[in-house]
Structure formats: C-alpha cells, structure tokens
C-alpha cells in the first residue's frame, strides 16, 4: 500500500509537468503574431523606408531636391520630392512624407516646422492608408550639406515618412 502511494505521487508529478508544459506551449503560441507575415512585412517596410531615405541622404539627394546653390528652398521642391519618391517606391507601396525644418530659438528651444508645400508629397489619399494592410512610420533626421552663403550654416531636417502596402495580403 505504501509503495502504491509513492507511484501515485510520481504519476501526479508527471501529469502536472505535462499540464505545465502544455500551458506554456499554448501561451507561447499566443505570444507569436497571429500572422507572422504582417509583422515581418511591417518591419520590412520600415527598413525599406530607412534604406531609401538613407540612400537619398548619402547621395545628396535632399540637398539637390530641396535647396538651390545659395541655400534657399526651391519653390517646387515638394513636387520634385514626390517624383523622386514615386520613382523609387514600386507600385503597391503607398508613401506620404512630411518634412520639418528644425529651428532653434535664442533660448535654445527647438521647433519642428513643416517646410512649405503646394502639394502633398504622397501617392495616395489618407483613406488609402486607413485601408492598408500594413502601415509603417519612419522618422529620419538629415543635416544638409554646408550652405556656402554668408550667415548660413546648415539646416537640420526631420522627415516623417509613412509607408503602406496598397492591398491586404
């Protein structure tokens, strides 16, 4: 009788361990995204956005699109930027960019002011982003090349780039 009670304890322990393991496995299953592609896709969009902005930055693209030789903002820079982004991102990728000029006041307070635009730097309207499968937001800082003009140094620009896939997969 004594021996049987020991065996029962052992079986209980095994069963309890199985239950714990099962519970952990189930909870781990729920930890993972419901659709791994959604997460992977979102990360890819972010990376895509960073890489695009980084490439433009390294090649001086922002300087050429936004500023003229004397460091003044080109009047139709927004249209040019839209063309540039439109030529980089493939069909099916929606973009919407806002560019802020960072200014610092005498008391060292920084303000981000959107660069003036005549058109939206986007290839879709706002509702398209609401309906998109994945939407990613990239914040990117860019310091312009030196401005070769008296009294000017450089601009610090902050880019907010929204990217989305046009259809849900």
């Amino acid at each position: 009788m004594k021996c049987r009670r020991g065996m029962a304890r052992l079986l209980e322990a095994v069963v309890a361990a199985i239950i714990v393991a099962t519970a952990l496995s189930v909870s781990y299953f729920y930890l993972l995204p419901a659709n791994p592609y959604v997460i992977r896709g979102g990360t890819d969009l972010e990376k895509y956005g960073f890489d695009t902005l980084n490439t433009l930055a390294r090649q001086g693209g922002f300087d050429r699109v936004i500023f003229d030789a004397s460091g003044e903002i080109v009047p139709n820079w927004d249209q040019q930027m839209r063309v540039v982004l439109g030529s980089i991102f493939p069909t099916g990728i929606l973009f919407n960019m806002t560019v802020y000029n960072s200014t610092i006041s005498a008391d060292r307070f920084v303000t981000l002011t959107p660069l003036p635009t005549n058109v939206t730097i986007s290839n879709a309207d706002a509702s398209a982003f609401l309906n998109a499968g994945q939407v990613s937001q990239v914040t990117f800082i860019y310091t312009t090349k030196y401005i070769n003009a008296p009294g000017k140094g450089f601009y610090v620009l902050v880019f907010d780039l929204q990217l989305a896939r046009a259809t849900r997969i």
């Binding site: 393991a21 496995s25 990239v138 990117f140 450089f154």
Partner: protein
Amino acid sequence: MGRRRGQVILMAALAMALLIFSVVISIYSASTSYQQMRYNQATETINNLREDFGRALIGVLAKFTQRYNETAEMESPRILAYYLFSYWTRSASRAFAADGVQLNFTLSNITLQYPGVFFGFNLTEARFTNNQLAKLFWYTPQSMSVVSASFDANLTGQGFYGWHEDALFLLNMTLDVPSIHQESINGTNYAVLNVYLNREYGQPVEDLSPSNFNIAYFDSVGKSWRNAIVSLLSNNGGGSYTLYLLNATGQEIPSPYYKYLLVWAQDTRGIIVESYTYTYVEYTIQENAIRNVLGPIPKPDETYALETLLNGSMLWFNTPLAQSGGFVPIPMPPVKQFRVYSTVNGPSDTNLVEIPSQVEVWTPDYLTPTLQFADWVRRFDVGDKLVFLVNFANSSINQQRVRIYWLFDADAPPPAYRVSINSSGIYVDINNTVYTARLVPNQGNSWAVDWTISMYYGSYHAEFLINGVGWVRMNGGGNWIPHILPGGDWNVLVGPIRAVAYRASADVMRVEPKPGGGANDLLQLVDSPGAFNHTDIVLIPYGTKYIQLYEDITWRQTWTDHRYYSFLTMISGTSSDQGSAIRVTNWAHQRTDLSVHSGTYSSSPGTHDIDSNFMYWYGQYNNRGTLGFGEAVLPNLAYVNAIKGLFPGSSRLWIWTSADFARRVLDSLAYMYDGDISHWMTIPAGKRVSWTAGIWAYGGNGYGDLDTYYRMFVEAYYPTIVNITGGM
C-alpha cells in the same frame, strides 16, 4: 516488484527532464524573437543618428573653417561651431523624442599626429584635439582641419541602451616642399608643386579640381600677395595632385618667389585647409651704433623697435635697413599667429627666446598709423608692420639672429599687452614700464598748455614742444614764445608692445595778446586750417628708454613772424618744483666735432649758452645718485640738416632759463630768437620740414647714456641686415 518500480521512476525522471528542457527552449526562443523584432528598429534609428551626426560635424567644420578664413580670429567661428553643434543635438533629441532618445555628447583629447618629418617639414610636437570640438593646424607645409566628438545614445522607448559613437572628420594637406621646381612646358615656365590631401582614416581626397585650390605668390613688383593661376592640375591618384602655376598675368613666377607659396584647399564638403611652404623667416641683424664704435662695452639699452613689412624688408625710423640680396616675403596669416624669437648671445647662439612683438596697421605707404593700429583681427597685409624689440645687450656681440614664426595652432592668442594707458583728467598717460608719456589728446584742452608731449621718468619729467614758431609781445611788454604751434586732436592707440599717438591735421594753435587785457592776458586761438599741415607721430615702445618721434610739416601759406623757429624744444621745471632739489641742474649737448659741451642752469632767468655747432643730441640732467634724472633729444642727421638748412646761418641751440618759474630750456632752433620786435623771418608756402628724433629718458648723473646710445638714432649707424633665409 522492486525492479519494476525503479524503471517507472527512471522513465518519469526522463519525461520530466524532457519537459523542463522543452519549456526552457520555448521561453528562450520567445524572448529572442521579441528582442529581434525590437532590435531592427533601434538599429535603423541609431544608424540614422550616427550618420547624421557625421554630416552635422562635417557641416560644423566646413562653416568653422570658412568663418575663420574670413575673420582671422577664432572666437566667432568657435561660437558658431558650438551653436551649430547644439542646434543639431537638440534637433536630434527633438526628432526622436517619441522613441525616448537620450543623447549625451562629449569632447575628448585625441592625438592627431605624432612628431615626424613630412616631406622635409619637421613637426616637432604632437597635435591634439585638446578637448575642442574643432581644431585648425594651419600655416605649415603639413596642415589639417579637424572636428571630433562622441555621443552615447539610449532609445528607452525601444528598450535599447548604451550605444557609443566616436566621430572624427578632417582634411589634411601636405605640401611636398622639396619638390617645388620650375618646369618649362611648351615654352612656358611653370612653378610646379605637389600636394597631398586626405581625409579621416587616411582616405585620399580624389575629387578636387583647380577651383578647389587657391595659391598665393608674392608679387615683388606690387609688393603684395596675389593669386596664382592654376593652369594645370594633375590628379595622380591617392590624393596626390600636381599643380602647375603661373602668376596673375599668366607669366612665370620668378625665382625665388615661386618657392614661397600660400596654399588654400577646399574639399567638396566645404572644409578649408591652409598651408604655407615655409614656417619662418630668419634675419641676422647687425647693430652698428656701439660695439664697432666704442668697443665691447655693456649696452643693455640698445634695443631697436624694428618693423618688418610684407615684402620682408625691415625699417628703423621708417628707413629701410640696408642689406644685400633679396628678401623673403612675410606670409599673410592672421596677425595673432606671429611670434618673433631672437638669440641673446649672437648669431651662433643656438637658443632662441621669444621677444616682444606686435603687428601695427599703417597706411599702405607705411608712413602714417591708422585707427586700426592695434587691430589683431586681420591678416598681415600691405600697410601692416610686424614690430619687434631686439636687444644687443651682450658687450661681446654686435649681431643677433631674429626668427619670425607663424604659429600653426589657429588657437594662438594675440600677444599680451605690456604697454598700458590711463586717462587722468585732460591727460592721457602711456606707460611703457620705463617711463610714462603724457599728452593732451583733445585740442580744446590743449589751449592750456604750451608743450606737445611730456615724458615722466622716475620722479620727474620734462616737456617737449614741436614746431613752435614766432613770438608775440604781450600787453605788459614781455614776449610770449611761441606764436603758433601744431594743434588738433591726438589719436592715442595702444598695442601690446608699442603705443602710438598721432595726428594729421591742418589745425594750428595761435597765441595773441588779449586786446584790452592785463599784462599777461593772452588769447589762445585755433586756426583751422592754419599756416601749415602737420603730421605728428609719437611711438612708445615697451621697455625701452626712448620715444620715437616723426614730424612732417608742410607750410600751406607764406608765414612771416618774429624770429623764432623751434624744431624740438625741451623744457623742465614747473611752478610747483621751483627751487627744489628734484629739478635738473645740468645741460649738455654734442657739438659738430662730436665733443660734448656742458654746463649748469641757474635759478634766475637768462641765457646760458648759444651754440651754432650743435649736432646729434642735447639733454638735461641732475646728479642725484639713485634719484638721478635725465632726458634728452637724440635727432638724426636729417634733423640736423633740416634745422640748419631752413634759414642758413640762423640755427642755434639756445640754452636758457625762463622768466616764469625759472624753467630750464633747451631750444633747438632753425631761427634763433633775438627778442627784437622789428626783426622778422618768412617761411615760404610749400616749404616742407620733415625729421625724426628719439627722446631719451635715463637716470642722469652725467651724460654718458646719451653719448653712448645717440648713434642708434643716426642714419649712418642704423642696423643692417646681414642675412635673410626662409625655412621650414
């Protein structure tokens, strides 16, 4: 039964081990997956920050070098650099505020270069960033512009901590000085220079064109630096360029000037670096005033305030020092970079010590100081004089080597001020640590005085009157000397080691007896313009016993007056010290045979001596031992010739005691005073009177000082230049 139970236990243990192991793996993979997803985003943000940090630093350095190149001073470029840096750091914090970014920036002391030899240029000391955001090491054959900073970043919103980034950006230019040569191509003689440019981590700069270079050569005809034409540029790869240069008119740059080049390069990032093909100009200067004449005697006060011009020539009392051979031009760095060194014990002395120096801004003809006299926020240019004080105290030597350096660290401060200035009532006092020169800077106040400049030494002083002309009969019957004298406000400007008081004016002060006034009442008037134009320049060098005086008078109108024309009158004695022991007691002067004529003053008015055979010095002194006082005028030959030639046969040295307060007077006269109201003299319009002189202060007790040092101020004994070299 027992064996079966053992197997069950074993199996149960194995099952539990497997279960626990699988749970551990599950937890580990879950956490890894979670971190991986977060890490990607942090990586992109950090990459963006570190790359843009680099762009910002490059922008800071570009603007810093450009601003410094324009201003020639470091303060405003450095303020701008820190402002731009702060602008970026705050912008970055603001941009990534949603990610909880925490940025901490630091500056550190990075070793940039160790001592070494670079194409013949010997870098004798290591170069560091000195905990500065940006540093410039320019003006040598090996120059660089550097910016460096570090930051630590946390992205708390993304669970990312502890990123550290060091950033260093630079532009480094090396001139291959030994390779500079002239080369004939298709009949055109080019100056050929090889330069090497690289950036951080030794990366060669490969994308430069002729427009990225600016080369200056010295135009010996125009006596200024001009931009050479970069006719050809050969990119040899690896950051090596060969430049083929012609002068500004497309002609050959003649020898030896093609070797002395100033090179600016600006890379495509906007960063400037400035290099020179030489780092110093060395002179061997010989004094001719004492040792060769008097033998090896101590001469502690034989100190010359020599002036070096842009073309490398040197002046003493505005007279070029004689030398054989060509000059080495002085380059045009910001004037704060200059330092002058000299030997102490002759040219073979291997030890060079820094001697006081400063740069002064004169008119382009080098004849008149300007209001920018002591402005150090500028490059060395036409009209500027690099002034230094070279001493020949050692009794056994008559030559010294003097080396003019330009420091390579752009943070070099301007020389320290050693001459001081004070205002006291209507007076301005300039102290050179040996004596104090006093004058009345504003004309309105000058009406109260009948002297031009006063020199205080020890506890006493003497006054000096320049160009006093004519006299008037006062209402009481006495005569007032002079009738007219130069007027106008003085510009008083102090530099680190030499001060100047100067005026260029047509204002002339005139004294007339006051109609209906008392016996001694006078009207004191200012004629503007008056009878003559005058330029009066008083230079006060640090630590010397002398004032340098330059006088230039041009008579605007024919002037007739009673007979008295003084070039430079010396007066001592005031109402307050009449009868006291501190007064001067003796006078002495040199005669044309270079003998000394001396005597004593009395306490009653009258003439002590009138001498037409005066020569290079005249002075007053007393014999009070350690309390002794003496001052003197040490004119040059031009002065003697001018004073004797203005009214031939009428010049005299008149030594007398005045009626008022028994003043002691030494009058150096072109026309002797005779007190006869029926006698006249006339100075024709257009007559020019120009001379220089030294005024000397010493401890009295005889006239030995004067008879020893007067030759310093005489043209025939001016220093000469024995040798000039430029080197690295």
